[in-house]
């Protein structure tokens, strides 16, 4: 199987090493002046597409991101990793915090109509909202098979065999193309963006679009009521033996 065209999605999120602070209005987290980078699962998604291209299974990789103007930096990282061209669906800064999976899935389904890829690869979930919904919603909208939480992907005539990481263990499935899959952490080890590739990526094209031009209504359907810090961790109790442990657990209503 060869000559497939792949659409990969990536999202610009707060960097995983940053200490998150809740906004004073409790409606979100502080993003101003905070380091952002590509969602780690999206790195796995792009890496998988690039590996398939190196194996000559894939012919072209188009990377798309929905977000404010800085999302172009994330697209450039993807281009430096080996994607061929980019699409930036610009959402005004500020409203991007409320860009929800349903809206993103609708945008991607329009991009699929436009680009006609054989395969869409997304990250399993974004580390800011941990939604894990976009892949599934998109597959539903397109009526395409889905392979989510993929940790192994193999291509063979017109279909993919996928190993999924599920609660019970590992599940092997086969999906016919075209399909939507979501990348899990153990799918691969993403490559470094090398300096020569970063420089070459500057010459690759990034097409600009807006949700309006695609005819997508991105009004959020979910309203965030309150965002709070998790409770401060309390000190534990040391107990002398298992009997006391069970007693204490029963006392506190955990058993």
């Amino acid at each position: 199987m060869s000559g497939l065209r792949v659409l990969v999605g990536c999202k610009r999120v707060i960097d995983y090493a940053v200490k998150i602070r809740v906004r004073p209005d409790s409606l979100g987290v502080v993003t101003d002046g905070v380091k952002h980078s590509m969602n780690p699962f999206d790195e796995n998604a792009i890496e998988e597409a690039v590996r398939m291209k190196q194996k000559k299974v894939v012919k072209e990789i188009v990377v798309a991101s929905c977000g404010p103007s800085q999302s172009q930096e994330t697209i450039r990282t993807a281009l430096a990793m080996g994607a061929d061209r980019g699409i930036h669906v610009e959402v005004p800064a500020g409203t991007d915090a409320n860009l929800q999976p349903l809206a993103v899935a609708k945008i991607f389904s329009k991009l699929v109509e436009k680009e006609k890829p054989d395969l869409v690869i997304l990250g399993k979930q974004a580390i800011d909202d941990d939604a894990n919904q976009t892949t599934q919603l998109l597959a539903g909208m397109l009526d395409w098979p889905q392979g989510t939480m993929a940790s192994v992907v193999n291509a063979s005539d017109g279909s993919l065999t996928i190993t999924r990481e599920i609660d019970g263990g590992l599940e092997d499935i086969s999906v016919s193309l075209p399909a939507v899959i979501s990348a899990d952490l153990r799918l691969n080890e993403p490559r470094y963006a090398t300096l020569p590739n970063i420089m070459k990526a500057k010459k690759k094209k990034i097409e600009k679009m807006t949700p309006d031009k695609l005819g997508v209504d991105i009004t959020p359907r979910l309203k965030i009521l309150n965002v709070v810090d998790p409770p401060v961790r309390q000190a534990g109790d040391k107990v002398p033996d298992v009997t006391t442990l069970v007693e204490k657990l029963k006392e506190k209503g955990h058993l």
Partner: protein, 408 residues
């Protein structure tokens, strides 16, 4: 050519969860950088955190020269930063080099410093070499197929570099080299040397630079020196015993060798200062976390005004030093008349002040600062030598004074 990681990302997550970065603040190295420069810094920092930081302390203890990791950095383009793309380089300005080396040093000062030396030699050949020399050597240096060392200092002459005595006697189509070079970084493990030799009379005008392959018969190495720091880089005396070097290996013109050496060192000084920046930045990030976590007298250390003021001083030194280092780099890139003096100033200021930042960080760690299990002592040991090599702080004083007095 792609570059895969040797360290898994899940172990990286564990590593990073213990040290949140304090970017987005007054010491943020990203401030003042363009989007491109930030991308370069990110690429270097990523490599530093994944490949260098986890191994830094082990390499120091075992004194292993991490050749594999160093060569892997070439896949990211770190072998020929300043060299023409015709020879596998990236033609980056010195300013971007400074940003990159600072980031690499946050992972391991010693490894980053070696990479700066390699780049200095590669750039010297690219700047002063003939087409034939560049084709023969620069491409291999950019890919790190070959590693390089810079040989100027001798047992009898360091600061007084022009007093070197290693001589190269011309005989037909060859130079016959005799003498010794001392304190050579990478010696014994590198493939190529650029050696400053005496081909003419006394003083700087009698010096010529030769490119010498280390497999040339007559080259031998002294015992690997035992150092306080920079332990994962071998440092040895290199002996030349009737070493025959073809005349085509003369770099630049006869008598130009000293100028060439000094030219290389201007960039080298910015690089070493940048390595001090990385060391101090990482020490500050570590100690800000430590003084938050550690309690004494019923409160975290950082509740004390003294500690807060100390951290503020350290941060101010770092940001100030970064400004002069980057300015010196821009000056060198723009070939401004004050570039040489500014490079000397930046090395003088940064290496001296930032060593004290590492020292303060060590002190703030209390007893733990003295233990080899904490990285702060290694940044302290590794950055100590930056005040000495590639021109001592005293020589830097001389250069700045000379610039001030030359108009009188």
């Amino acid at each position: 050519m792609f570059c895969l990681r040797s360290c898994s990302r899940s172990s990286l997550f564990k590593l990073l969860s213990n040290s949140r970065s304090i970017s987005s603040s007054c010491v943020d190295p990203n401030v003042g950088l363009t989007t491109d420069e930030i991308e370069y810094r990110d690429a270097a920092l990523n490599f530093a955190k994944t490949e260098l930081a986890p191994n830094m302390q082990t390499w120091d203890l075992t004194e292993e020269f991490p050749v594999d990791t160093i060569k892997r950095s070439a896949d990211l383009g770190f072998g020929g930063l300043f060299v023409s793309p015709d020879y596998g380089g990236l033609s980056l300005p010195r300013h971007d080099g400074s940003v990159i080396f600072e980031a690499l040093s946050q992972g391991c000062v010693t490894t980053a410093s070696y990479i700066t030396i390699h780049n200095m030699v590669n750039a010297m050949i690219d700047t002063f070499g003939t087409e034939a020399q560049k084709e023969k050597y620069c491409t291999d240096l950019s890919s790190m197929e070959k590693l390089a060392s810079y040989c100027l200092t001798e047992p009898g002459s360091g600061s007084d570099a022009a007093a070197l005595v290693t001589n190269a006697r011309k005989e037909g189509s060859k130079y016959i080299v005799n003498g010794s070079k001392a304190f050579i970084s990478g010696a014994g493990a590198t493939d190529l040397l650029v050696v400053m030799t005496r081909t003419g009379g006394k003083g700087p005008k009698g010096v010529s630079a030769l490119i010498i392959d280390t497999d040339t018969p007559g080259i031998s190495y002294g015992q690997k020196e035992k150092k306080i720091g920079w332990n994962n880089q071998p440092t040895c005396v290199v002996n030349f015993d009737d070493v025959e070097v073809p005349c085509e290996n003369l770099l630049g013109a006869e008598g130009q060798g000293f100028n060439l050496a000094m030219h290389g060192l201007n960039g080298g000084r910015i690089n070493i200062a940048s390595c001090s920046l990385g060391a101090a930045q990482q020490c500050l990030e570590d100690v800000v976390q430590y003084t938050h976590d550690r309690k004494a007298f019923n409160q975290p250390l950082n509740a004390n005004q003294h500690v807060q003021f100390k951290l503020a001083e350290m941060a101010t030194e770092i940001t100030t030093a970064r400004l002069i280092v980057r300015q010196a780099a821009r000056s060198l890139d723009a070939k401004e008349p004050n570039a040489v003096a500014l490079c000397a100033m930046c090395k003088l200021y940064a290496t001296e002040r930032l060593f004290k930042v590492c020292d303060d960080a060590l002190q703030l760690h209390g007893g733990y600062g003295y233990l080899k299990s904490y990285p702060v002592q290694q940044f302290w040991r590794d950055s100590r030598v930056h005040r000495i090599l590639e021109g001592t702080s005293e020589v830097m004083h001389m250069l700045v004074a000379r610039d001030l007095l030359k108009h009188l």
